[in-house]
């Protein structure tokens, strides 16, 4: 089998990448390989609204947002195969399996990695206790409720204040369950402020910061969990234990980009994002292999996924057309104080077609501080922010002409007052 560009994954990132690649060059043969039985990825189970404010200036649900992109595929002649799981990626080919073709290889000019991310399960969190039924990641529970129409529980404790956990606190409440509390290990929430307000505050669900689950009870089904307050080193404080009767524990404790394929292909991974190291074109360390969406770094808003993936798709299309390796100066982007990572990690100035968007997350909560950009040690940009939290992605936009002087490095930092 052959294609010009193979897109691994048909979620929001894959769809946006495919569409923009096709728009860049209509003659390209683009193939999306999707492991699920429908396109749209995790958006299909996100039936709440709030998607698309930046992209469409309106509030859509997840399936509606996905549909806006899916509708464009036919018109652009983009092919897709469902129920197809990619087993192996290399520069120039992709190996996949489905029930019709068996195991097959697609030779291609470029690959765009859009595999998304997964939730950290109980086992990875070292939560003590028994192993009864009734412990779910928030996303698994979301699928059961929103797609299958079943209730995973009636009395719920949620560990972790990631966005899916917050959304599920509201969703379970609306379906008649009692959400007893949301515990968060850190002294701040990992989710969007708007989700704390709309999903917890509006329903009087307590958010217990600096708290964790220290025991799960019940041999067959969860009967209770024990929670405790933690100290600055995240260690439970003796004497603060509370046993909360419940039949269900939902976990929303972080998302991990699914980079098993990238790793085995030899793509260089950034340990801070668990996603590939990319340049301004979203190209990984392997020429012709691009990455975007949550497999690259975990986003807070799907609108940013779509925008970045559009850039990745365009870059892949250009790569297929030009083939030439870029020459010219490379600027390194470094993390300064408070900045956990940046995407991209470096910029090839000659490859920039428009302004450069650098996205990043902070490592802590900063109040009334500045985001600063330094070119070779000299402050180029300084923006005051009332609050910066790890739960919300930040960005700086640098004009192409500003980069024309090609500093050797750009440093992004958070400066406190």
């Amino acid at each position: 089998m052959k294609a010009d560009i193979v897109i691994v994954g048909g979620g929001p990132a894959g769809l946006a990448a495919a569409i923009s690649a096709a728009k860049e060059d209509k003659s390209l043969d683009i193939l999306i390989l999707e492991r699920d039985n429908e396109l749209g990825g995790i958006l299909n189970q996100c039936i709440h609204n709030g998607f698309g404010l930046h992209t469409f200036n309106e509030e859509l649900t997840g399936p509606e947002y996905a549909a806006r992109f899916e509708e464009q595929l036919d018109g652009l002649g983009i092919r897709y195969m469902l129920g197809t799981m990619v087993l192996d990626v290399s520069s120039g080919s992709v190996t996949a399996i489905n029930s019709k073709e068996g195991v097959f290889k697609v030779n291609c000019g470029a690959v765009v990695l859009c595999m998304g991310c997964r939730e950290r399960p109980r086992g990875a969190l070292n939560i003590p206790g028994l192993r009864p039924a009734g412990v779910f990641t928030a996303g698994t529970a979301q699928r059961l409720v929103n797609i299958e129409g079943y209730m995973p529980g009636r009395e719920v404790v949620i560990l972790g204040s990631g966005d899916i956990g917050l959304i599920m606190a509201r969703r379970m409440t609306l379906e008649g369950a009692k959400v007893k509390c949301v515990c968060e290990l850190m002294p701040y929430s990992g989710g969007l402020k708007r989700n704390i307000v709309q999903c917890l505050d509006d329903f009087n669900i307590p958010l217990l910061l600096s708290h964790t689950v220290i025991d799960i009870k019940g041999k067959e089904r969860v009967t209770s969990v024990v929670i405790a307050e933690v100290d600055e080193r995240s260690k439970p404080i003796p004497g603060t234990e509370q046993e909360i009767a419940c039949d269900t524990l939902l976990l929303s404790c972080g998302l991990i980009p699914e980079n098993e394929l990238s790793r085995s292909a030899g793509v260089e991974i950034n340990p801070s994002t668990n996603g590939p190291v990319v340049n301004e074109s979203f190209e990984t360390s392997i020429p012709g292999v691009f990455a975007c969406g949550n497999v690259l770094h975990v986003h807070d808003l799907v609108d940013y996924v779509s925008e970045e993936s559009g850039r990745a798709g365009r870059s892949a299309a250009r790569f297929v057309k030009n083939k030439a390796t870029a020459e010219g100066p490379v600027i390194k982007i470094r993390n300064g104080n408070g900045v956990r990572y940046t995407v991209p990690s470096f910029v090839r100035v000659n490859e920039l077609s428009d302004d450069l968007v650098i996205r990043f997350r902070s490592g802590n909560v900063y109040k009334d501080s500045y985001i600063k950009v330094l070119f070779d040690g000299e402050t180029k940009l300084s923006r005051r922010k009332p609050i910066i939290t790890p739960g919300e992605m930040e960005q700086v936009i640098l004009k192409k002409e500003d980069l024309a002087n090609t500093p050797s490095e750009i440093l992004i930092e958070i400066a406190e007052r």
């Binding site: 492991r35 799981m85 029930s99 009864p132 009734g134 079943y150 209730m151 799960i216």
Partner: protein, 481 residues
Amino acid sequence: MKSSYDIIIIGSGVTGCAIARELSRYECSCLVLEKDEDVCTGTSKANSGIVHAGYDAKTGSLKARMNIRGNMLMTSLCEELDIPFKRIGSLVVCTDEANRKGISELCARGIANGVPDMKILEKDEIREIEPNISDDVVCALYAPTAGIICPFRLNIALAECASQNGVDFKFNCEVTDVSKLGDEWIVETSSGSFECQAVINCAGTHADEIHNMVSDKKFHITPRRGDYMLLDRSLDGFVKHVIFPQPTAMGKGILVTPTVHGNTLVGPTAVDIESRDEAPVTADGLSKVQEGAIKNVKGLPLKQVITGFSGLRAHEDGGEFILEEAEGCKGFFDCVGIESPGLTACPAIGEYMALKIAESLSLKFKKFWNGICKDVVKPFELSEEERAALIKEHPEYGRIICRCETITEGEIIDAIRRPLGAKSLDGVKRRTRAGMGRCQGGFCSPRVMDILSRELNMPLDKVTKSGGGSKIILGRTKNEG
């Protein structure tokens, strides 16, 4: 199902199923009773999966004899029953010059027990075969006959083979009383009463309770809990051998080992507890496991943990396997105190006990017996041509259900449909590995539930994690009525 048998085995762990398979060679009717919904749900489901070489147990003890014989039998058994098994060798590591003597003593005991080809390796030799060994290592006892095995498949395959040769199994059937009526034994259970000529007590952590129902010479079992951590398969090759610390009175200590499926396993601790059925993982246990692991293996990335679990050993006060007809109870046979090296010893225990019982009941061999039993078809272990042909004929082998372990729908259907097939998520997991990977079923469990519901013709809300009251969903959402 009938209520009268020649032989009833209580417990379907590795010991019970190994004996059942051996007895299925003979002309007799045999029933295995299990209190849980599946085989391999007690001690056999949560252990290190190690085939021990046999230097630990006291020379002349049943533990030592059964270990050595079990280890010897394992190669052919695993071939016959399609059980993943690798003889990767073990290292008992000494990290303190003052304890070197302990290593020589262990070696001498191994030689006396009949363990072949052992040697004591010095620091540099160990480094060569195990690059990530601790810098503190002084010397180690190397035993090449030690190995790693899939404990689930070992148990399940023994049961499947027994079943295909006519042994009956009854699940969710807890034994409440055993008594003698004339020449017959009456076994009362939560689902009716059974009679038989011989009872074999393989009840694991409950074996003393069963024994004490019939015998005046009482036993006492202490459930000994052990915590483990299972690390991601991406660490495959970090250690190449089973790495033990020097043993203590509480057991063999915290080991670090590859598993047959390419994970790295660390553990167990050893803590005596009250409950015979509940083994909670503890924070203290996990931190001891971590400390123990890094003592022998440097730089082990413990952050790559994908799950923690805990198992129970059935420690009898005497610390020895009890494999005998109970005193004054003709026809009542005990397999009590089967703690480590029970997994290794099970083929030998099966052989030893079956012979005793066959003699006692004057059983004759069957004319035809089939000792071969293949595992679930695994498309990724086939050649390209075979796999293509399989998917062409059965498209479900091209549909991936578990992403992390690359398990297809075909394998899950096979695991459910085969004799003594899976009935729950954990049953599917132990037979196929679906849900055993790094996302721990986050993606695949709703899909596996759908397949179980369809194949077993039961509503989705009746599907359980592991039988009994372990229901996964608690009803419909409002709008679904």
